[in-house]
Every structure is written in C-alpha cells, then in structure tokens.
Homo-oligomer: 212 residues x 2
C-alpha cells in the first residue's frame, strides 16, 4: 500500500496509526501543503477531493481518513477497531465523530488560512478560534469517555477502538495550540497511555520522513 501523507496532517496521522495497529506495511508518499502539492493536477486525478491523506491499495485510491480506517478494519479484521454490537459500535462512532465532525474540520490549515486571509484575523484571533472548538468538542467527549472508559487506557471499554485513533492526533494539535486541557483529565490520561504504544508512537508527525 501507498499512503499520500503529510507529517503534520492530523487526518494522515490517524491513518498512519490505523496502518500500524493492523501491522500493514506501507510506503509514504509525502505531499507538502506549503507547496500546494495536494492541489496539483496529478494528485487531483488520484483524489478529486484534493485532500490529504489518500491510500492507494493496489491501484484503488481511497480518500477521507475515516473511510480509509473503516476500510482497513474490513480488510484486516484483527485487532478490530469497532466493538461487536450495533449499540457499542454506534457509541464508538459517535465519540470518533465528535472529533472528526465537530473539532478537526474547524481547525485544519485551510480554515485557519481563511481566518488569516479574508477574515483578517491575527494570531490571537486564530488561536482563540482554535481553542474554542477544541474545548467545545472535548467537553462532551470527556463526559462520554468518563462514562465508557474502564481504566482510562482506552476511550471505550478496555480495548482499542476507532475513537482512540482519532483522539491522539487531536490531542497533539490541542497541545500545539496551547489549549487548556485541565477540564479533560480523562481524555488526557487516555491519550497519554495511547501515546506510549509503539503503533501510535511510530505514527507521530516528528518521526515521519517528511518532518521538517
């Protein structure tokens, strides 16, 4: 498999974790946001959405990190990213989507660029925006993790799930923007545990081949 990736992309970070957890070997093909390589014609022909990451599995190119992660889970069932019952699966997906739909989309690079450009926000305005949406999203997620995590090692029950794969990159970014995390002790404890696992550690931005 080939992964079109960028070291600092939170969505690519998720897919790197998923590939590592499943033990799938892959080749990294870095695309630099700063050089707009993800909007070049050759990349758009592979991924019309023009976003990072994309996964090339023997010529079939897939986009959207959550779609890729569920694909990997269906292709390589062990260890599973989702529990067994529909109710448990829905709860895990709900927690993952609290990050994927409520926090990350508001805080990715192109949105921050729009704030700096057309909306003329300075660093202070951008940072306040960033922290606002992390705090809003983490508030509910903290409650859910407190209800569902068994030993503060994983977000749901006592084994790894889709939510864990999304939590670590979001926590990484929250820290990068100096977000106050004191109201989210459960999420911080879970993320700290997850970050110690080899599959997560090897997916970190700073150890990627394209890290600057």
């Amino acid at each position: 498999m080939k992964l079109y990736t960028f070291f600092r992309s939170s969505a690519a970070f998720r897919v790197r974790i998923a590939l590592n957890v499943k033990g799938v070997q892959y080749e990294s093909i870095p695309k630099a946001f700063a050089k707009n390589e993800h909007r070049a014609a050759a990349y758009l022909a592979l991924n019309p959405q023009g976003l990072i990451p994309a996964l090339d599995d023997d010529g079939a190119v897939l986009s959207q990190s959550l779609a890729i992660i569920e694909y990997l889970d269906e292709r390589f069932p062990s260890p599973p990213f989702l529990p067994v019952t529909p109710l448990d699966r829905a709860r895990v997906r709900s927690m993952a989507l609290a990050i994927a739909c409520e926090i990350h989309p508001l805080n990715n690079l192109r949105v921050l660029n729009y704030l700096r450009g057309p909306l003329k926000q300075d660093d202070g305005g951008v940072n306040t925006w960033y922290r606002h949406w992390v705090t809003e999203g983490f508030r509910g997620l903290e409650q859910q993790a407190r209800a569902y995590s068994v030993r503060q090692r994983f977000c749901y029950g006592d084994s790894l799930s889709l939510t864990d794969i999304l939590l670590v990159p979001q926590m990484f970014n929250a820290r990068r923007f100096d977000t106050d995390l004191s109201a989210f002790p459960t999420l911080v404890a879970i993320s700290t545990h997850l970050e110690s696992l080899p599959a997560f550690a090897a997916a970190r931005p700073e150890v990627q081949p394209d890290a600057t």
Copy 2:
C-alpha cells in the same frame, strides 16, 4: 424510537431520511436551537455532546448523525445504506464524509454565530464563507459522482446509499444560501431525483411538526 430533532438541522434531516427509508416509525421531540434547548441540563444528561439530533432506541440514546445512520443500517439491514465490498463501501463513505467533514461542520449555526459575534462578520461575510466551503466540497464530490453514478439518480452506482442521505440536506442548505450550483450538474440532477422520493420528501424541514 424517539428522535430529538430540529426542523432546520441538516444533521437531523439526514436521520429523518434514514428512518423513513428503513420504514422505522419514530416520535419527533423538537428541540429549538433559538431557545438553547439543546444545551439544557436535561438534554445534556441524554446527549453530553449537546448537539441535535439524538436517537432514543428503547432508552439507549445515540448521538452524531452518521453514527445513528450506520446504527440503523446495522439494526435494519434492508434496504442497505452501503454496498457489499470494502472498496465500494469505502468510496461511498468517502463521498458522504466529503459533506459530513468538509462542508457541514463549517456551515452550521454555531459556527455562523461565531462569525457574526466574535469575528464581527456581516451578512456578506457570512454568506461568502458559507458558499466558499460548499463550493470547495462540492467540487471534488461532483467529480466522484460523475465517475460513480450510473444514471444520475443516486450518487454511487444505481441504488441508494449513505451519500444520497447526506447530499439532499446539504443541497437544501446550499440553495438556502443562494450558492451558485452551475458547476455541479451531476449533484443537482441526483438531488432532484432523490427529493422526489417519498422517504426524502417526508423528511424535509418545512413539513416537520416544529417548522415555523
């Protein structure tokens, strides 16, 4: 089942379509954004994320529209919302997520309120923002629909899928904000067909009990 809903919520609109397609009877419990009913303690006890919609299935309350829709698909397999092979499923999910993660999160009410409030944007600034993200997201989705739709009746192949359920509410909102849709003829044709189906028509905002 009970659906915590708001007539104009795009995410609730998706779940109403999904329930109708599966033929599941449900009771609507409207929560008005304008009165902040979705942030009242009683609702937060049910759904800590404090967002609309939530589905109560015999006392188990689920949140996040995509998680709810996949739950309904697992509980009531016919008609299916996803194709059979992992590759086809990933492509459908990718198209759905282009709406759920790239367009809608940037354009929902609380984000527009932040633009009007702290960022001091007038109607012009808000509308430009809105149309920008719809146009950005629809560009790639139009390419995917052109590649995968068979007769411009459904987004993927020639039968209903998850993507169709997300397209119609997004198209409804794009029109509400007078977005120029001339570059997206495939998406417009598919949405027009879908809107004619009874399950979609009955889920429209204007025919909900709480519509004003």
